[in-house]
């Protein structure tokens, strides 16, 4: 039980302290109100207890000042709670720049994690302390939910779509990972551990397990295996877009709209190639890879495209300013991951 209480207060991520603070403040406020109401109820029940069988109470019906008071005061307090809750929400869900980007593919009933360096883990996740880690997540079957109580954060993992979660663990340790969204028979078995390590130990762990090369290099393998390279072969003959310098850049579509070439866009191209055709390209050219490429392979391909970097002759790498899209905060993070992965590619 004492261990529980310790865990209770453990602020294991950068946002956990704020959640605890909110909880404590709310707890104090609500306890005061609840105790107040309860005492008043008990006081009235005793003080005004019926003495004679034919007794009547006072016949007061309204007291407008009192009623106004207990309408306005709660409302003002509620607005305060809303504002604090909303502020905390953006602290929790908006990732900082410069995150380590990993991919999570959930399926009944396991968590599969892919590190950019190529490590794969199942129901375990090793991360360095003090660094912000961003997970791009999807599911192969039903809805799951990535929940780390010690980090005070959670995000549903949906099939057919990417959602993201981020956290910066504060101190080394071992923390529970739960699936919080009911996902079928072994829902309660879809649990794992997050291992937060010292940065140095983490580096050691990374080098120990780096057997099959980076995620981007795996992606390159698939890029050839699935025949992507036959068309997207960088010669830019006009049939297929050049994928260099694509990631996190705005793409103009045939419809005239502009979309950001983020993870979701690239994933969508494999699933429904003709949905958002870039300007100047024809539809019905690219085959549909639904059912052919798995979610795991898609994230590898995305990492490869991310690592492809700028086109020859383009001096500047993808910079945050170049992407005025809704995910304005991401490119820097993406670029960091990309350069890291790219350097690994080049060393091969």
């Amino acid at each position: 039980m004492t261990a529980n209480v310790l865990l209770f207060w453990e602020a294991a991520s950068s946002v956990a302290g704020e959640v605890n603070a909110f909880f404590v403040c709310m707890l104090i406020l609500c306890t005061v109100v609840a105790v107040g109401i309860a005492s008043f109820l008990i006081y009235c029940a005793i003080r005004y207890h019926r003495k004679a069988e034919n007794e009547l109470g006072s016949q007061t019906r309204y007291n407008i000042p009192a009623e106004t008071l207990w309408t306005v005061v709660p409302f003002v307090l509620f607005i305060g709670m809303f504002i604090w809750g909303a502020k905390m929400y953006f602290d929790i869900v908006r990732p900082p720049d410069n995150t380590i980007n990993m991919y999570v593919v959930a399926k009944q009933w396991m968590w599969k994690v892919q590190h950019p360096e190529g490590q794969r883990e199942i129901n375990e996740l090793h991360i360095p302390a003090g660094r912000a880690v961003k997970l791009t997540m999807t599911s192969e079957d039903v809805i799951h939910s990535f929940f780390v109580p010690a980090f005070r954060t959670k995000q549903d993992v949906l099939p057919g779509r990417y959602t993201t979660i981020w956290f910066a663990a504060q101190k080394p340790g071992k923390y529970h990972l739960f699936c919080a969204q009911y996902c079928g028979t072994s829902h309660s078995g879809m649990i794992g551990w997050i291992y937060v390590m010292n940065p140095r130990e983490y580096q050691a762990w990374l080098t120990e397990g780096a057997a099959e090369g980076s995620l981007a290099s795996t992606g390159e393998k698939y890029f050839h295996q699935f025949g992507c390279a036959n068309c997207h072969n960088f010669t830019n003959q006009g049939r297929c877009p050049d994928l260099r310098n694509l990631y996190m850049r705005p793409v103009q579509l045939t419809t005239g709209q502009t979309v950001l070439a983020d993870d979701s866009y690239i994933r969508e191209k494999l699933r429904d190639p003709d949905a958002q055709i870039p300007w100047g390209f024809a539809s019905n050219v690219m085959p549909n890879f639904t059912g052919i490429v798995s979610e795991d392979q898609i994230v590898a391909l995305i990492s490869y495209i991310k690592a492809l970097g700028p086109a020859p002759g383009t001096l500047e790498p993808a910079s945050p300013g170049a992407a005025p899209g809704p995910y304005g905060a991401q490119p820097a993070a993406g670029a960091t991951g990309a350069t890291k992965a790219k350097s690994q590619l080049e060393t091969r």
Partner: protein, 98 residues
């Protein structure tokens, strides 16, 4: 008691409705981009109001009836607008995936 409308006014309402079906169909042949859907549903709403107002006598019935009808329509609008708010505002606030 609802006073009956004359057969003549029913016939006029019917002719108006047929005219609006024709109008709606003809407009649909023009490519107006997103306006196509807005106009189609708009004309349909006008037609529905004619049916409700005259053929269903909502205009002549008691106030409660009009409140109930308005309630149904307003609740549907609440449903559709708050649901679409989610879909149309994805990505507005710079939170990835939201």
């Amino acid at each position: 008691m609802i006073e009956p409308l004359s057969r003549k006014s029913y016939t006029f309402a019917w002719l108006g409705l047929l005219g609006l079906v024709l109008l709606n169909t003809l407009i649909a042949f023009l490519n107006l981009g997103p306006w196509n859907m807005i106009i189609a549903v708009g004309i349909a709403t006008v037609m529905a109001s004619i049916v409700a107002g005259f053929l269903m006598h909502a205009l002549y019935d008691s106030k409660v009836v009009r409140i109930v009808l308005a309630g149904g329509v307003i609740w549907f609008l609440i449903f559709v607008s708050l649901t679409l708010t989610d879909y149309m505002t994805r990505g507005w606030l710079g939170v990835p995936g939201k």
